[in-house]
Symmetry: C2
Subunit: 221 residues, 2 copies
DNA sequence: GATACCATTTTGGGATACCAAGATGGTATC
DNA sequence: GATACCATCTTGGTATCCCAAAATGGTATC
């Protein structure tokens, strides 16, 4: 694999994994030395990550995008539009066996599962569900939206009850989809996204002080 | 303005304006000499245009993306989801005076208007309409989708009747939006997009031979 | 002590040099 | 004439160099 993709991948993981905090300044030179690459692949990586919304320009320099509560709310509305559209397409498919694969994915999480894994599967649920629609654009839209939400979801204070609730909602969505009941599936998915958004934004707004103390830039709604 | 943005802008215009045909191979060196820039800005431009879907990698090299009829169909579905969502948001706004600005934009086209202008206003109608929603993500989704559709719409054989029809549909959408009638506005917009897609794909499929003769790569649905 | 000013450093943007891999084209062989 | 093979050229990827501008930090002035 070329080093360019490696820099991009590693840098993305550091940002998504909060090893580099939201709001931190980045210099091309630092990335260069940190990953042992030269500036050309570093710039390519930054340009790509910029379109993903993970880094942004700060005047002349680069900054890891802060967590923006207003943006999170807008993404939730966006997600609802594209995810529901994708789900309706999937419900209209003759072969909806893909839902079983996703169901199995959910089942793979139990009491022994690491938090990272719950986090990942929780996002992949939505991404893979969108992929079933067969529409490349809806799929990418969901994938990109989830990438943008990723750090915020990671920061969210999630308790066992919230996790169990989310998983139950996921299963309800799959059940309706399996039956091809588009309206019911769409209703369930909308409610799930709206509820998620509420809990996410509430959690972050409450914990804002704590997040700032950890050096994370959090922009108000 | 930096030269980088200039290369990107000029190259994008050449591609969208079909001065470089769909399917044509691009070399960084050619772009470099064509615009008098060095490879650094050229690479940045190509990376950006890649995320816009206007150029793609062809093994080791770069290619102007072909017109892909299957992709056009998928974009239409995608558009419908995001445009309708945006329009429903707009209908729920207290201040919908923005529709008047868009209406005026439509009025600016008459018998003396150049074809380029009709083309541009036809796209801007949808982009500006989405912007009214206030949701940055829905707006960008529509803008990017229209950019991808741009070349195809340019190739479409459009007659006076089709243009008049499209404008009438645009006005109907605005009228319902002005009244805040979200369901009616959504219905009108959906019908408009579905109709547009049908006429576009049909036109291109029929003219495929002619387009290939002009050296344009057109991939079947 | 605060502040205006200037030298120095650092930074991102651009240009150029170099390389390995792939495309090209000619040639020798059958 | 077709084909296998090899020298050459071209290409994208990477590294390095240069530059203008912005940030930095120290200093002199009030």
């Amino acid at each position: 694999m070329s080093q360019m993709q490696s820099v991009e991948k590693q840098l993305r993981e550091m940002i998504l994994g909060l090893e580099i905090g939201p709001g931190e300044k980045l210099t091309e030179r630092w990335i260069e030395s940190r990953f042992g690459a030269s500036r050309t692949p570093v710039r390519a990586a930054l340009l790509r990550l910029e379109t993903e919304g993970l880094v942004g320009r700060d005047g002349r320099g680069w900054t890891v995008s802060p967590i923006n509560l207003a943006e999170l709310e807008q993404i939730a509305v966006y997600r609802e539009a594209v995810e529901v559209a994708a789900l309706r397409l999937t419900c209209a498919l003759a072969d909806r066996s893909g839902v079983d694969v996703i169901e199995a994915m959910l089942e793979s999480c139990d009491g022994n599962t690491a938090r990272e894994e719950w986090h990942r599967v929780g996002m992949d649920f939505h991404i893979e569900l969108a992929r079933l629609s067969g529409n490349e654009f809806l799929f990418r839209a969901v994938r990109d939206a989830m990438t943008r939400l990723s750090r915020a979801r990671w920061l969210e204070v999630r308790d066992e009850a919230a996790l169990a609730r989310a998983w139950a909602e996921h299963r309800a969505i799959l059940a309706a989809t399996r039956l091809g009941d588009a309206d019911e599936a769409a209703r369930q998915l909308s409610a799930h996204i709206v509820g998620s958004r509420y809990r996410l934004v509430t959690s972050l707004a409450n914990d804002r002080r704590g997040l700032r103390a950890r050096g994370f830039a959090v922009v108000a709604a």
